[in-house]
Symmetry: C2
Amino acid sequence: MQKLATFKPFTEITPTASIIVAQHGGRAKCLQRLRRLNMPMPKSIALSFEAVHGIASGRMPDLDRLMRVFDEAPLLSVRPSSEDPDWGGPGAILNIGMSDTRYEEMIPRKGEAVASRLYLRFIQTWAAQVAHLDDDLFDADASPTRVTVEAALRAYEMETDEQFPQDPAVQLTGVLRSMARAWETTSARLLRQAKNAPADAGLGLIVQGMALGVGPDESGSGVIQFIEPVAGRPQITGRYLSQSQGRDALADRAGAIYLTRDPRGPSLEELCPEVFDKLIEYGEECRRRLREEMQIEFVINSGNLSILDAVRVPRSARANVAIAVSMARDGILTPAEALLRVEPRALNELLHRQVDPMHTVTPLLQGVAASPGAATGRIVFTSDRAEAMAAQDEACILVKRETNPEDVRGMHAAQGVLTEKGGMSSHAAVIARGLGVPCVVGANMIRLNRREKTLRLPGGKLLREGDVVTLDGSAGTLIDGPVPLLEPATDAALGTLLEWADEVRDIGVRANADTVEDARIARDFNAEGIGLCRTEHMFFEENRLTVMREMIFADTAEARADALKQLLPMQRSDFGRLFDIMEGRPVCIRLFDPPLHEFLPHDRAGMLELAGSLGRPLAEVQHRVEALQEYNPMLGLRGVRLGITVPEIYDMQARAIFEAAVDVGKTGNRVVPEIMLPLVSAKREVEVVRARIDTIAAAVRADTGVEIDYKLGVIVETPRAALKADEIAAHCAFLSFGTNDLTQMTYGLSRDDAGRFMGSYTRQGVFPEDPFHVLDRDGVGELLSIGANRGRAAKPDLVLSLCGEHGGNSESIAFCREAGFDYVSCSPYRVPVARLAAAHAALKSAEF
Amino acid sequence: MQKLATFKPFTEITPTASIIVAQHGGRAKCLQRLRRLNMPMPKSIALSFEAVHGIASGRMPDLDRLMRVFDEAPLLSVRPSSEDPDWGGPGAILNIGMSDTRYEEMIPRKGEAVASRLYLRFIQTWAAQVAHLDDDLFDADASPTRVTVEAALRAYEMETDEQFPQDPAVQLTGVLRSMARAWETTSARLLRQAKNAPADAGLGLIVQGMALGVGPDESGSGVIQFIEPVAGRPQITGRYLSQSQGRDALADRAGAIYLTRDPRGPSLEELCPEVFDKLIEYGEECRRRLREEMQIEFVINSGNLSILDAVRVPRSARANVAIAVSMARDGILTPAEALLRVEPRALNELLHRQVDPMHTVTPLLQGVAASPGAATGRIVFTSDRAEAMAAQDEACILVKRETNPEDVRGMHAAQGVLTEKGGMSSHAAVIARGLGVPCVVGANMIRLNRREKTLRLPGGKLLREGDVVTLDGSAGTLIDGPVPLLEPATDAALGTLLEWADEVRDIGVRANADTVEDARIARDFNAEGIGLCRTEHMFFEENRLTVMREMIFADTAEARADALKQLLPMQRSDFGRLFDIMEGRPVCIRLFDPPLHEFLPHDRAGMLELAGSLGRPLAEVQHRVEALQEYNPMLGLRGVRLGITVPEIYDMQARAIFEAAVDVGKTGNRVVPEIMLPLVSAKREVEVVRARIDTIAAAVRADTGVEIDYKLGVIVETPRAALKADEIAAHCAFLSFGTNDLTQMTYGLSRDDAGRFMGSYTRQGVFPEDPFHVLDRDGVGELLSIGANRGRAAKPDLVLSLCGEHGGNSESIAFCREAGFDYVSCSPYRVPVARLAAAHAALKSAEF
């Protein structure tokens, strides 16, 4: 006691008292702010975190002194006040101070019903929260009478063998102790840690005089806010319930009335017009002076208004954007402050369909939330089937053990993708995010039977092809049947916010875009160019696949070049359309990357068909397929290694790029294509390919008479390329860090295979985060820094960027900005997120 | 001419002349040394590299001045003198100066036969080497008479329309120009570059007065050496042929005679005892004063001895060791010099059987020489068959598309291994080198038909199971049928040399040893311990494999632990035997590393069998097999990741290690086992596993009452582990760099898949060397340095080592020594190589 006293264990909340969020919690601070706005508020005392921790450990502060702050014999409430309201806390306890004596005194003044209601509420709350008795001890629906009060007291005594406590000090002691201890239980700690609270987060408590809300004349309680929480439009929302306390008006919707005039029934505006006007005024004051949309808890006591509490209005991401922009427009916030009010990752919620959060669902399974958004459709098990469904305009969810490049068209056709294997960076996850298709991966509890076209769930439930399900890629769940979905919202407020972001940010944002659709989205989201155009998908369309296979089976360089010639006009058109859409913005094309075996069939039927179409014996096809198989395709014959050993592919691509640039340049913007080499590990690889590309450029120049300008760069994906960035940069205009592969190789960890244990690893804290999800600053980040520094040292005007999956993450963007990168490139749907995150990074660094 | 003269284009070779190897070549220097030993030698003039290069470019030095050095009208020879005799050069040309006039003058003095022999030789050599006429222009077997001389002159005139040159200056001009130009042709340049000559290697020429070797009294020429070239034993070897020139004695064995007395015929010792004695004396002088075993070319002219030339005796690696040790024993060399006379990699030749180099073979195919040595046996296509053959003591060569861990026993049973796929670091190559089994990989021109058990070669030849072949793992070839093989030679000289090496070297050498056999070899080769004991092979023995599979199918941790309990006594005995053999030397055990799917069958038959033995439905087995499949096993769920997610395996291994150490410690040497964790990428992985191992150690201590001491370390295989070596070292007693995996991940290159293009890459110079073969100092080496420096900074007494395949390479050993590593560990058969290489590194660094 002695010791605690020196820390001022409790403080009356007055406009000038020292109330600190980090010592007394957010609610205490908010109450002080309301008091500073001269709102009518019962006397309130804040207990500090330290005091509450002391109470939990058995050190009770001087309650007599505390109670002396209040008028003679008040009724009191105690409410929690943690540092961040989101971290939760024990429920409020009202009407402390009610006792047999007080009850009898009150009946003549307020009537039996009011007195009984107050006493009953306290008895029941005490029994549940302080004495930890069973819920069903009391009749929940009992009407407030002397009989029910006496029954409740008897029931309490029977259960506890003790009289219900009558001394207000004893009551307050019990309430404070139970709330302090509730905060420190393991389950409460785990709950708040899940919301990112620190392990030693403290709890403050507020002891407040009761404004009763029950009594003669108009008495009651209610909640009001001035904004609707889904779109963030101005709209008075709330409920009021006569003769009620706390948040009863929200719980008992039947008896509650509207706040504003409403044809459906009476309203507070009509019932107590002065109170209503005052509430409107207070709301406006909160907005202007507290600079936030607040939800206000109020009590009317015999016609007099008291404000008990106010909290930030819970809201959707969309509403949050609208509120921030509106307050900035009204001069309440600066645009910079408005930007910082919106978490970049929250934009994901706006940009995709969502399961209506008001609708309660029981998921069939929980996987890894790999690509945000929700979709309803019929289950299909093959990409072909998904394409067939799409052709009939039928929505479908593609379910596969895992996806591979041949599935990209099927994934595009499907409304959602579910895979049994894989993690955040598996093929399915990466492609789905790029396509903006909701996706759940790593659902390794399911059992797929592709032959019977069924999907068995953990509990034994069986789903069949054609069954309707809803996939929630934001939550990582699958839900039986259709559920209500909210549409994506890219409204004007978001546009305004992102314009402000663009004014503030000082690092570029491009999009990873492989297709015409991607490029359009990228442009519509104002990406400054394409930072990564992967070209391999272009070879999987059916007529092209046949040519690729001919090429693979060709025996000479000439025969390969001949086969590839058929692809030249198609590739030229691919690139031409991208250049057109991007209207002169830079387009960075990564040359062919995957191993050739991805283009060959792996089952007997496919090989037989191929043998037929090539006119070669099956044995030869089988032999070639086997010969091309690899143990670790990620580390095999692909990327620039193919560019060097089968140079005809890069030759064809370079020619297609240059010819497309010439074509587009004739009618529109001049195009200076950027050509990027994958999987480089030594400078000589760049020299060798550069020499061939230069030759092609010269040939196209000779053919067309048009000067060809291009930039050659390297996607830094191997640790060695980062280490040798100085030598490599000597041959490059730019280096772009491909953090997906770089993370794989730095950790020795395949993103496709990591899913099986990454969950267990992050749960055990072996890795603090999935490094494919959050850039590993320590390890991969050091290689990025080494590569950037050495590259720039060798070539000061070297353009640096990051184009891995991490490109859209706040942490990586901040990292790239600090490292002096020129831009990040992310999937088109993350461009808005990245623009905002880049603005945050610039603003936050300016703060220091 | 003016300019060349200032550089002294020619120099008479006198004891005091300025003759420099780098300007005049090795032969010129050697001749000067012989002259300094007062050997009788015709006058000789050295033309410098620069002069010869000038001649090739058309600038002929002042030949009149040159010829004035000699007596009036001499006959001359011209011989090449490159910097290193191994780099080749044009053939010598003799008898320059012969002309019609000279011929006629000579007949009366020396006889028609002698004069004709001299002239004919010159005409024929000139025609071939200077005039580039066809070989068949002259009758090769023509006897030396006036008729044949005249016929040769006529043939020459018919062919060239010119008279045969008669002016000695014109002749010398032609000879010098043709030899100078021959050196600068592309094919000559490629040939010497293949022997590592620099691109600008120069050629010197030596113009020497002829000691004729033909004439009255005893005249002739011969070659003598004092050592036999296979074992290096002292033995006078050579041939002498009367009335001959140059090396005729070696070419015309029929007419040649022995040098020493021989029951089979006459000898030089009998014919010219004084000359013979003189030659013996000269040989001894060469050995003592030139400090080398020389092969001497001599001429007897009417009984007078002339020494024309001497070269280092060509010799086997074994002879080279014997010679170096013998010269050091005789005080001619210091032991350090003797050590430096032997190339470490040459020891490979001594330690394995070799195809007799005297026997000419035509290989059936050329692959990658993956493990040295040669073996003859019958072709088999499966490991089972190889084991069956071994059981019958029949030698076999195992031929597979590729090998996997299940083949290790088959590889052990076979005498040689040939695989279609893979490179220097494929599974087959690594294991074969470890086992000391000859191995050729990457023979991708063959077509295996496993069903029909045939092997089709490029030319169409078909080999069947049971056919006898010889595999030459040193040359990378397969040879039809048996061929004569030389046995390995680990004789006393080698032992002495390695003892000297151990005295000199200052970095430790341990062996990678997985089995009892490996450990015995390691100990017999004096390895200082086991630096890497891989434990996975221990789980492939049939009874153990069954247990592993039970473990994989167990559904709970308890069931897994139960299954593994059956393996405990076996593992304890595995480790106990290793500890026993190593007699107290340290043994570093790497815990279980491979992915679990390696232990499951992949074909339907195997799965059916497994389903039967486990009593589970086939569908479940199939599902589990599929679920465990990985895209990139190298980067998947293995190593410490398994140790954390399936901790029961490491628990069992740790217990087995500790119990074995206790058992062995009771009767013999105290064992402090070293336990090494694979595939670590974050310090927390080490913390988590260390905690469990400590618990096991405490349990074994409690069970046995014996104090348990052990060292925990990490094999640094991921780039991230190298970057975070400071954090990781905090939990470790040692770090060992596993350069195989580290190279794979630094390059993003699977060693199993690299074989398909590495040849093309190194041929094109994209990579200067196969980085799995020669440590990549630039990239991987930087990670090694970073890891070593950070590790030592965090923990100064950290033990550092390298245990990858590079451990036995000279370059890597020098690198590790400079980086302050404590030891390298290599396959047992490379231990002698590593000991010598380590001595070289120490000696070479002391030189500076």
